[in-house]
Amino acid sequence: MKTVALAFRYLWSRPLQALLNLLMLTLGLASITFVLLASEQIDRAFQRDLAGIDLVVGAKGSPMQLILAGVFHIDVPPGNISLQDAQELRKHPQVAQLIPLSMGDTFRGFRIVGTTVDYLEHYKMAFAQGQAWVRPMEAVLGAQVARSTGMVLGDTFVGSHGLGGGGGHDHGENLYRIKGVLAPCGCVADRLILTATESVWQVHEKAPMPVAAPMPDAAGDTHEAHAAQEPPREITMALITYKSPLAAATLPRWVNSSTRMQAAAPALEVSRLLRLLGVGSEVLRGVGAVLLFTAALSVFIALWNAVRERREDLAMLRMLGATPTKVAALLLSEALWLALLASVLGLAAGHGLTALVGYMLEAQHSLPISGRIWVPAEAWIPVAAVGVATLAALIPSVTAYRIDVAQLLNAR
């Protein structure tokens, strides 16, 4: 019989205690796994969505709102800008590319975004089916939109007014026809319905103005419908890439001071946002650490009791000729068994929890979080488990090492 096998038998000779300790350790490790997975994926999603966008230009208002609305599509935009202003900005010598975005409508909670095919190229989107739009009123579905609505190539749909989801009236006479479905990218485009900028103009120029005063649209009645009745035309915002990094020093300031538009640098705003979110993940991490500490304490108490209960068993092993090291190793192995089992269960539970949260977020058309991916930092989970278990086993093992055989045999 090997030490590990014997330790396993001893561990499960008190099944309830073993199970409780396992549960404690597992909870600690699972919560840490969850924090690692979620924060890493939120980080990655941000980085992916941000990729290559140097500046977002839109109506004056909160720069954070501009970024959240324009890049991540999780907030409403502050307003519209005139197409003419955007076109002039495109001619600016420091602008390499300007991608227009026009928002205002949704379909079953998913945003319909009018843009140019540059947007698809910018995010290097691949098509699962079909192709990009060629004419207005042709649309391309993000992967999550297609999965969630069950629509396929050739299907038609009408958008509803407003970004709030379900609040606005339908643009009944303007049918979008699905021309393509995108492959999943794990980025914001998964949750968007993309079409030509002209589609958005067309829908809203034909849209009848409400006779009565319009319902106050809490989710942001931002699109250009009301203004678009008469030219000049408008777009909601524009994503800009610089010709050279030097532009970062001058272009945003120039936009903010010399035009009617506002410029926001995503990198800056996102790091501000992550600092805010960071507090949350620190708290979660803290809770995980406390759980882990409690687990360590409970493993320590369990092993300490095991040494006391099994003093005689351990002394008997010494009597049979086992070295003190072997006896100490036996206790340590018991702790390591707990660590190993808890690592496996903790990782599984952490991924399960992440998948559950991801499922709930997907239902809300929010950040894409999956329980199926692994992040390198998870390698620390078994390390933490082994560390905690070893620490907890240290004193009991030393006590076991020092057991006085003769004294114990003399005890009647």
């Binding site: 019989m1 001893y10 000779s13 008997m316 010494r318 049979l320 086992a322 070295t323 009647r412």
Partner: protein, 223 residues
């Protein structure tokens, strides 16, 4: 086979015990007699290499124990000594069979199921292999403990009060089994006891009274 010379042991916080010299041949039986607290268990622990004497020498099967390091003494004990403690120390976390297998584990040798089954069979408890020690009667438990003692075919069997709290019949059966086991292994048997029934049951045994020298040492420490 077992020789001791001018053996003295000093408790960390207590009296010093001095023991008369002993010389027992291979296969012989030695009865250590003496009252409770006279030092019988201490003598057994010294002979098993579990305690280190302050002075003197123990030579077992030609091996002077003082020449062995602590680790080497553990290994030597695993191979050479079968110890039957008064309290049997069978672990209830394990089955009878696994309790026996602990002897292989402690000695660091591969498990030998044939030897294990034979030892249980020799003591008539083969059918109890799957039980837990708490499910055994007192007599059964003693047989199991004895099976574990002889598992490694020791050269010396040291038994501490093997008949304590046993009725006459069980005590006699136990002693016969012990004697038989020692005979089968050609082991030297040492029994520490204050039970007069033991001497009657084993008339051929050499009797060694512990306590005379020890008592003298006690009086030395008095003012």
């Amino acid at each position: 086979m077992i020789e001791t010379r001018a053996l003295r042991y000093e408790y960390p916080s207590g009296p010093t015990l001095s023991f008369d010299d002993v010389d027992v041949r291979q296969g012989g039986t030695l009865l250590l007699r003496g009252n409770s607290g006279a030092g019988k268990s201490t003598w057994l622990a010294l002979a098993a290499g579990m305690l280190t004497p302050k002075a003197g020498e123990i030579v077992i099967a030609g091996q002077p124990l003082s020449r062995l390091s602590r680790g080497a003494r553990d290994a030597w004990r695993a191979r050479t000594v079968g110890f039957l403690p008064q309290k049997l120390h069978l672990s209830d976390a394990l089955t009878v069979e696994r309790n026996l297998a602990l002897a292989f584990y402690a000695a660091g040798v591969p498990e030998n199921r044939v030897t294990l089954t034979r030892a249980l069979g020799l003591l008539g408890v083969a059918e109890l292999a799957g039980r837990r020690p708490s499910q055994l009667s007192g007599g059964q438990a003693q047989r199991v403990a004895l099976a574990r003692t002889i598992l490694m075919e020791p050269r010396v069997i040291l038994a501490d009060e093997p008949t304590a709290s046993l009725d006459d019949e069980t005590a006699l059966t136990g002693l016969k089994l012990l004697e038989n086991c020692a005979f089968q292994c050609n082991a030297t048997l040492v029994i520490a006891t204050h039970d007069r029934r033991v001497q009657k049951a084993l008339p051929k045994a050499t009797v060694y009274q512990i306590g005379r020298a020890a008592a003298a040492a006690w009086s030395d420490t008095l003012p």
